[in-house]
Amino acid sequence: MAKVLMKGNEAIGAAAINAGCKYFFGYPITPQNELPEYMSKEMPNNDGVFLQAESEVAAINMVYGAAGAGARVMTSSSSPGIALKQEGITYIAGAELPCVIVNIVRGGPGLGGIQPAQSDYNQVTRGGGNGDYKLLCYAPANLQEMVDLIQESFDAADYYRNPVMVVGDGMIGQMMEPIEFKKVESTRTLPEKNWATIGTGGTRKPNIINSLALDPQELEYHNHKLQRKYAEMKEKEVRFENYNMENAEVVIVAYGTTSRIAKNAIKALKEEGVNVGLIRPITLWPYPEKAFDEIPADCKSVLTVEMSEGQMIDDVRLSVNGKFPVDFYGRSGGMIPTPEAIADKVKEIIGGAK
């Protein structure tokens, strides 16, 4: 298929429809509005339903209902809206239902701003809602990867019976890039949704979708079952890209669009004779700890670069586990780091280490 030039938010919608998503429940919030707008236009043409809910809370609970009824369903929002959805997300995770949630991250805290940010890292990787649960969380760096991961997200959600979150910063949502919509055959054997609440048809006992367990032992067993599922995700779903790691003096860790800016900095530094590597997590959870095994033994620093005041850095420290110094460079509030600023930070580290 030929490449088409599309805006990120609309490409997500097209990819979701391609992946068989039939239901979309949304609520307006900048900078993701083009996605629900696209869905309101395209869903009816694709035998699907778009519904604008009265709030993010209602939208995620509509997703909860539709997922329980066995549908491929999606919602999207941006940071403060995702905070509101956390109630529903923990119920969906607890009840073990599949769905895909898109978070086009903007600056915070509070109402924050509407410009790109990565300050939702903790909100998306640490649950955000109550209880011991995890979301499989993808962070694509360009629109082609975003589109490819949307299909993967629906399959993974169905396979694990777990919500999957796709995280893009505001740039991913707003930028235009050429995209090829490939027909991807699922690599997973997806289980039958025999648990769905679609009416008994008089042929079976009632199905119950639920996250309540008043017996503490029963709830602990349920938690153990969830943990086994998360362990399987950790084993099978980790994705990352390591770039220019050989003989790297400094290794940058960055995800999403920040990783692209970091690559520009790395190329500029190479021309100046400074060799810098990049670890780019594609899954934010499970975190690609094994990517850090490739850091050269004489690496001077692992530099975390984020569009936040430092959130992923905690996972970087856990992955480095004291073997290398960890440094940080971040911009927040919608400010975007420049390649020059990242290069200067690298030079400052190298200079300081001499």
Binding site: L51, A58, G65, Y91, I198, G199, I208
Partner: protein
């Protein structure tokens, strides 16, 4: 011998409920179960349980059930119904769930004319959590968070949900009933049946508000509770129909 009464198959056979002695939730459950069977829709029904006293309703109704978070049952039911437009989808909610934390969800489900049926059980108190004040608690009525009794100055007047819904265009059927006496129970069943029929006919949102008792948290015997409901709740929450399909404001 002639069979004069049979337990409805609309409720899970042999399942005992956790409801307190004298609580009228059991009667309301039975009426809903009977209606689902009599309309022949039990096997295509999907119910949504609330948070509150009827949180375990998913164990009692003999059909597919989905447990929602507090107040969100109408949103969950919306999701189900949009996926399964041919099925019968209902929520069963108390007054804390529906009239307090879930006002946005229930108002907008009605406003959209969502083709679901809501059974709204109003007993003027939070039962499950131990007798706190609800938006529906009467003036002067004592609650654990209104130890001297509710006052207008502090908490406003009790919320009249059915009257409010009578102004919403998408709400096709709205009726308030009571289960304090045999005649009223018969009327309640008739209203519940009409509400589900409204959904089957695709007319829009339907809701039956059922005045119910809470002997435990009211601190009354079951018999005195029925009397209290009649003497105190019914004058403020008058029984009757507020909307039928075809009627407009």
């Amino acid at each position: 011998m002639a069979v004069v009464f049979e337990k409805t198959t609309g409720l899970v056979p042999g399942k005992e409920t956790h409801y307190c002695p004298g609580c009228t939730h059991g009667i309301i459950h039975r009426l809903v179960g009977e209606v689902l069977v009599e309309l022949g829709v039990l096997d295509k029904a999907v119910g949504v349980a609330p948070v509150g006293c009827s949180v375990l309703a998913y164990e009692y109704f003999n059909c597919d059930m989905h447990e929602a978070s507090h107040g969100r049952a109408p949103a969950v039911a919306t999701g189900i119904k949009r996926v399964l437009p041919e099925n019968v989808v209902f929520t069963y909610q108390g007054d804390g769930d529906l009239a307090s934390i879930g006002t946005a969800e229930i108002v907008h489900a009605a406003h959209r004319g969502e083709k679901i049926t809501t059974i709204f059980v109003n007993n003027a108190i939070y039962g499950m959590t131990g007798g706190q004040m609800a938006p529906t608690t009467l003036i002067g009525q004592k609650a654990t968070t209104a130890p001297l009794g509710r006052t207008v100055e502090h908490s406003g007047m009790p919320l009249k949900v059915s009257e409010m819904f009578a102004t919403i265009h998408g709400a096709a059927f709205i009726e308030r009933v009571s289960v304090d006496s045999a005649p009223n129970i018969r009327k309640a069943k008739k209203a519940i049946k009409e509400a589900f029929q409204c959904q089957l006919d695709g007319k829009g949102f339907s809701m039956v508000e059922v005045l119910s008792t809470c002997p435990t948290n009211w601190g009354l015997t079951p018999v005195d509770s029925l009397k209290w409901l009649k003497e105190n709740m019914m004058p403020y929450y008058p029984l009757g129909n507020f909307r039928r399909p075809g009627e407009d404001e």
